[in-house]
Every structure is written in structure tokens, then in C-alpha cells.
Amino acid sequence: MANVLVSAPKTAKKGQVVEIKALIMHVMETGFRPGTNGRIIPRNIIQDFSATWNGREIFRMKMSPAIAANPFVSFSAVASESGTIAFRWSGDEGFLAEHQVAITVT
């Protein structure tokens, strides 16, 4: 299981715009660098990141090797209803990580 760090408020007022930050541990190997033996290290990146609010997609991002190691993404969302915000990262070599946080909207 990959190390994931997500920052989102636990409570929010309905209609409020909240900031969501997501960080995941990943090498994001570009596939352009030679290793110690002079051979190119194969590409190993996270390709897709998405966030859903109670199953409804609120944010999606397609990453390239130009995203720094340990990808950090921050975006905003309108607090619509109480529930869970789910995050999903997928990429090369069958990489898959999921994380959920609960949010109460009043």
C-alpha cells in the first residue's frame, strides 16, 4: 500500500468551496534516465488521478513523466453533501492506490 496523505476539511458549510490536497509516495520514474549500468530505467509513473464525492467525479487528472516524484495535487470543490471523498491513483506496472476521507456538510 502506497503512502498517501490527504488534506481535506472534516466539516464544511453547504455551498462552501473547500480546498483538497492529495499527496502520494511514488518515484515517478520518467523513462528517460540512465541508471548506474548506463541502461535506461523503465518508465514507472502514475498516469491517472481522480477524486469522487459520494461516487460523483469532481476532479480528474492525466499525469505525464513531467510530474515531480511523490505527486502532489491540490484542487477545490463545492461542499454539496455529507459523505466520502474518494481518491484513486493508477499507473504503470499495475500501480493502484485508493484513499477515502469523510466530510460532514451542514
Binding site: 534516465r33 510530474i67 515531480a68
Partner: protein, 176 residues
């Protein structure tokens, strides 16, 4: 090393010593750099010939816009103009948009000029975001232009670009 002769002055002797020190390691290097390490060095150079060029950048932009005109403005690309380490460059794209169902930013695309590939990321947004704002950290292989393009629900494209100077490049260094 020649044994120190009594008639030689102190300074001259030091010069000789420094000279030998300079000669020593490089001479040894010349002797020990074999075919293998030379080839490894040669391979290191190859992948960076395949940089994304301004042409590749234009092609990547066209792929996203489909040839529609791209207007300057509305987009704010926040990236430091002078970057010490290209391995992690903070980047924020902010678009001036009401983010209503009728008029919102559908997508934000970021491109670069001189990394091996022109793409950096594509992010898809909706009115559920409230604000058209995306922040991340990117790699930059060289001092270059970074371009952000916002696609609105009304079919318009707005852009902003920044020239960034990078002192330590990403991707290029060895892993050692």
C-alpha cells in the same frame, strides 16, 4: 616524484607538486576509462537528443484545441521565474471563471517546451469545483517556456505562458 633538490626554491617546488597533483588523477583516469564506461557515457547523451521542441509544443497544443484560436488572458500561471531545482517546481494554474453550469472551465492543460515530452498534465474540472484552480509540482529539464491552456464550456481556449530559468535540471542527472 622527483626528490626535492636543495637548490630548488620553496615556491617552485610547490608549483611542481600542484602540477603533479593535477596531472595525477587525470592521467590515471585516461588509463582506466575503458570501453565500457566510455560507452555508458555515450548512452547517457542519447535520450536528451529527443527533446520536445517548440514544434512539438505547438503540435501538442493543437491536439488539445483542435486548431481553435487560443486567446491570451484569463489564465494565471503561477510558477517561480527562477528555479533552483528542476526536479520539483511548484505550479499553480488559476482561471478567471464563474464556474457555473453555463460557463465553467472544462479542462486545464499544461505544456512545456524542452522536456523530453511536451505534455505535463491535463486536468478536467466541472462546476462542482467552485473555483478553476489546480496546483501541483512538476519537473523541468531545462530553462524553458511553460504554457497553460484553459478550455471553457463555451468552447473557448485561454492561455498564459511563463519563461522559467532552471539552474539544476531534472531528468538529466544520473541516479548515482
Amino acid at each position: 616524484m622527483t626528490p626535492r633538490r636543495p637548490e630548488r626554491s620553496e615556491a617552485k617546488s610547490r608549483d611542481l607538486f600542484v602540477h603533479r597533483q593535477k596531472m595525477g588523477p587525470s592521467a590515471a583516469l585516461g588509463a582506466t576509462v575503458g570501453r565500457r564506461s566510455f560507452l555508458a557515457g555515450a548512452i547517457t547523451v542519447v535520450p536528451f537528443a529527443a527533446h520536445a521542441t517548440p514544434d512539438a509544443l505547438a503540435a501538442a497544443v493543437k491536439e488539445v484545441t483542435g486548431g481553435s484560436p487560443v486567446h491570451e488572458g484569463k489564465v494565471k500561471l503561477d510558477i517561480p521565474p527562477l528555479v533552483e531545482n528542476g526536479n520539483a517546481v511548484p505550479l499553480t494554474v488559476k482561471v478567471d471563471s464563474p464556474m457555473t453550469p453555463d460557463d465553467h472551465v472544462k479542462a486545464i492543460h499544461v505544456f512545456n517546451e524542452k522536456n523530453p515530452q511536451p505534455h505535463v498534465f491535463n486536468a478536467w474540472l466541472s462546476p462542482a469545483n467552485g473555483r478553476a484552480l489546480v496546483s501541483t509540482r512538476i519537473k523541468l529539464a531545462d530553462s524553458q517556456k511553460v504554457v497553460a491552456i484553459a478550455e471553457t464550456s463555451t468552447g473557448e481556449f485561454w492561455s498564459a505562458h511563463t519563461d522559467v530559468i532552471v539552474t539544476i535540471a531534472a531528468c538529466v542527472e544520473d541516479v548515482t
